[in-house]
């Protein structure tokens, strides 16, 4: 007889063998941040703990919380119901909130137990990410940065209005605080030879990014009023006197760097700024929200036009463009086709070229690592190695242009590769397997709740300065936004050993997530489960538990709330933010339909004199279908139980919240 057949708990994941199935946001994130977990903590207004969750995978939480193109949101299953969760904005809430509370900024001080040191060339997101993780893995990293301050393109290429410099400084200071040395103003290849580094250090990581602008092979590109985007942005960022701009500026390019060049030019000149790009408006590589912000600030965009020649005699007078018929070939490769006869002129007195970037590898010696015929570093994507032993690479220098979070991911992978090379016992983590889409018939049953918009300074005001545009979600808005999360894959799970195939869960689930077949085998579909908890409260053998706020977790929260002398306890709801009795200690649940009789009695047993259950309305349904019906049934049974035990049944009471903060969510 095994213990499992008596009363020992053991829970499987939603479907046996699916241990690795995770929320799609986490799977889509290049660094696989447990977004769901920190979103829950934001919903409960616990920003310091939320930030700690972000930090588990993300060494630059404040930076990424501001500038990330958030592939997580594209994967977010809430998008299949109405709109995706504003995951990136909530990450910012975590760090802003933690900072306000004075928390979350004590970096760990790892011991460099491996006894080896690594030279990292470049202090952009990839180099910083690698250094951070290497330090945690016990390897001492030293970063070499050619500029006078650390940050790489985050500092030189991204403008203060999107990423304030003090924010970048704080994230970098944290990494420095971990014992990571950053030597700024040191140019490898000039101040120190690459071979010297390779000799002195146990490994070298090349993370130099793409630091140079591509120029345009067109007539007139050598005129003095023709600028390259990277040095232009660098000058603007450094607060150096930017090259004199005219009053009619043309930016060539349709990517995010072009957008930043245009927005900066608009701020500096106050004049007319026009972007000219090959792509149609829906093909533009810049993110849609960046395009919206730029056009709101008065930048105009001319699509489907390619530069033919920069006009002017000693001084720019305009850009001659030709119609671009298509940008990509059948295989989707960049191969623009032009109509050479359809020419027109965009008038202007300044041109900024933002058509792409390349790396500068001139510091590499002849002895390797080798570059290919196109001048690109030869690189093993899996092991992050180059052709020279002990020399690794990461970030845009090997991956090509992308988001900061991709460079970070690349740096983190390289950290593991380097640490393994130096003898650390560590493996590359497995790729998470996301759960599937919200099935038809289920999406319709989810309560609609609008995505909360990030407040921003009005376009007219912000286009005249470089102060931050986005203001951050206010606390209540942030909590309401966080509570829209569907808690993917964190729902009901059952123990095969304890399930007796009684069918209760199959009958009570409002979303058809639970099933039994004729053989008595049971399962719970993580795609259909909405994490309402009704099956879990009703299962007679306690064969079902739930990923978010498991019974044990809620019990622990009840105990924590009541120690410290709390006399009364209120169960609140994070969807509606219902809280009626502010004096009572609180346990916040995802809808009080989650409350079982056991949990109510547990509160009484642990000494609560009165137990309040705050609900958002009189209706049968709470945030979930039948949620309040479940709450009322549990409260009625618990009242009866305590009456039988000789207590006043009035000690347990449902209270309806008159003023909901998250009205739109219920």
């Amino acid at each position: 007889m095994t213990e499992n057949q008596t009363n020992i708990r053991s829970f499987s994941r939603p479907i046996s063998g699916d241990e690795l199935r995770r929320p799609p946001c986490e799977a889509a994130c290049p660094i696989h941040t447990d977004a769901q977990r920190y979103i829950q903590l934001v919903a409960e207004n616990r920003p310091a703990e939320a930030l700690a969750v972000v930090r588990q995978t993300n060494p630059l939480p404040q930076v990424i919380g501001r500038i990330c193109p958030h592939p997580c949101e594209d994967a977010c299953r809430r998008g299949q119901v109405d709109e995706p969760i504003a995951i990136c904005n909530l990450k910012r809430v975590a760090s802003d909130g933690a900072k306000t509370g004075g928390l979350g900024y004590d970096p760990p001080r790892p011991d460099f137990t491996i006894g080896k040191k690594v030279a990292i060339i470049g202090s952009g997101p990839s180099g910083l990410g690698a250094a951070h993780d290497l330090a945690l893995l016990g390897v001492r990293p030293v970063i070499f940065e050619s500029q006078s301050e650390a940050g790489g393109f985050l500092r030189t290429g991204i403008l203060n209005y999107r990423l304030p410099k003090h924010i970048l400084d704080e994230d970098i200071d944290y990494i420095r605080g971990m014992g990571v040395e950053i030597r700024t103003g040191v140019k490898v290849g000039e101040d120190i030879a690459f071979d010297e580094l390779a000799d002195e250090y146990d490994a070298v990581l090349i993370a130099v990014g793409l630091s140079e602008s591509r120029s345009l092979p067109a007539p007139g590109a050598d005129l003095p009023q023709v600028l390259l985007a990277v040095p232009f942005l660098e000058a603007v960022n450094a607060g150096r006197e930017a090259p004199e701009l005219g009053k009619e500026i043309i930016v060539i390019g349709g990517g995010n760097v072009a957008i930043d060049a245009a927005r900066s030019a608009r701020r500096l000149s106050g004049g007319k700024v026009t972007m000219v790009c090959l792509e149609t408006d829906y093909e533009m590589p810049a993110h849609s929200w960046e395009i919206e912000d730029a056009t709101a600030e008065g930048v105009s965009i001319i699509c489907s036009q390619g530069p033919n020649a920069i006009m002017g005699d000693g001084k720019v007078e305009g850009l001659e463009v030709k119609k671009c018929e298509s940008v990509f070939d059948e295989q989707g490769r960049f191969a623009p086709r032009f109509c050479e006869t359809e020419l027109s002129v965009v008038p202007g007195d300044t041109v900024i070229i933002a058509i792409g970037q390349m790396s500068n590898l001139s510091f590499l010696p002849g002895s390797g690592p080798e570059v290919n015929e196109r001048g690109i570093l030869i690189f093993d994507r899996e092991q992050c190695t180059t052709t020279r032993r002990g020399v690794f690479a990461s970030g845009e220098v090997v991956t090509g242009p992308g988001a900061a979070v991709n460079a970070l991911a690349s740096g983190k992978r390289a950290a593991i590769a380097v640490a393994r090379y130096l003898g650390a016992d560590v493996d590359f983590p497995p790729e998470p397997d996301p759960i599937g889409e919200v099935p038809p018939g289920v999406a319709e049953k989810v309560k609609p709740a609008p995505r909360r918009k990030m407040p921003a300074r009005p376009a007219g005001e912000r286009s005249g300065d470089f102060d931050e545009v986005e203001l951050g979600l206010p606390e209540v808005e942030a909590r309401c936004e966080a509570s829209r999360c569907l808690l993917c894959s964190a729902g009901a799970r059952y123990s095969e050993l304890k399930c007796i195939a009684c069918l209760t869960c199959v009958r009570v689930c409002p979303y058809g997530a639970t099933w039994h077949d004729r053989e008595g085998l049971a399962g719970i579909s993580p795609e259909r489960c909405q994490v309402c908890g009704i099956c879990f409260t009703q299962c007679p053998t306690k064969a079902i538990d739930i990923g978010v706020k498991s019974e044990e977790q809620i019990e622990a929260e009840i105990e924590a709330a009541l120690t410290g002398g709390g006399k009364d306890l209120e169960f609140g709801c994070w969807y509606s933010q219902a809280r009626v009795t502010p004096d009572a200690a609180a346990v916040i649940l995802p809808c009080t339909g989650r409350l079982s009789v056991r949990l109510l009695l547990h509160a009484v047993e642990r000494g609560a004199e009165r137990v309040y259950v705050a609900v958002c309305s009189e209706s049968e349904d709470g945030h979930f279908i039948h949620g309040h019906r479940q709450t009322r049934a549990a409260v009625a049974e618990a009242k009866k139980a305590i009456a039988e035990a000789g207590l006043d049944p009035g000690a347990i009471e449902i209270r309806i919240e008159p003023e909901l903060k998250c009205k739109k969510n219920v």
């Binding site: 009363n7 304890k498 056991r598 139980a641």
Partner: protein, 208 residues
């Protein structure tokens, strides 16, 4: 009943009574919580624990909880009344009490509603009554019904209760087998039911 006991054990049973949402692990734990609340209020010292087995009607499962049972001053069983009796058989010197009143053998007509379908009478008649049991489901246990109290398909004891003989008639009519009702069912051997001493059943020849 447990006031004079320091250590109380509530024993749940995770099969039939769990399916009936009356005595499985969850219900056993709720009962223990209730007892703890009441005992604390009355200032009774000691502890109330729970243990649940898959079936209290089998020796092996009861043997698996020997440690918990030995520690307890009294065991409250939330199983059907076989459970406490099994505990008494297995632990002859232990005080045992039922924590559940065993009602009937029921069918789940809808979720959370159980209706008596079988009286375990020992001489089944449903082969002759369209597969519907008049012993369990007729208020008078009539074998050749209905009686004069059948009104519009309802039993005279309550408009809530259907007349089972109407159900038997309708079923046989639907099957085109009304003629079978002309056969009188003879006197029933009630000594096979609970009036002939405890019944035992043995599966011969396959002993371990």
């Amino acid at each position: 009943m447990t006031d004079d006991c320091e250590n109380v054990l509530v024993a749940g049973c995770n099969t039939c009574v769990a399916v009936c949402l009356t005595g499985g692990e969850k219900e056993a734990e709720q009962l223990a919580q209730q007892l703890r609340i009441a005992r604390r209020r009355e200032g009774i010292r000691g502890k109330v624990d729970t243990v649940t087995v898959l079936r209290q009607c089998e020796n092996e499962y009861l043997d698996a909880i020997a440690v918990q049972v030995e520690e307890a001053d009294i065991v409250l069983s939330t199983a059907c009344s076989i459970g406490p009796q099994g505990l008494v058989f297995r632990y002859p010197r232990k005080r045992v009490a039922p924590a559940m009143n065993t009602n009937m053998l029921g069918y789940v007509r809808e979720h959370h509603v159980w209706t008596e379908y079988c009286a375990a009478c020992g001489s089944c008649v449903i082969a002759a009554t369209g597969g519907i049991c008049p012993v369990a489901r007729c208020a008078k246990t009539l074998l050749n019904g209905p009686c004069g109290g059948s009104r519009n398909g309802r039993c005279e004891i309550s408009p809530e209760v259907p007349c089972v003989w109407q159900e038997i008639y309708d079923r046989l009519a639907a099957l085109g087998d009304l003629d079978s009702l002309k056969r009188i069912i003879g006197p029933k051997k009630w000594n096979l039911s609970n009036s002939g001493g405890p019944r035992t059943m043995k599966k011969e020849g396959f002993e371990p």
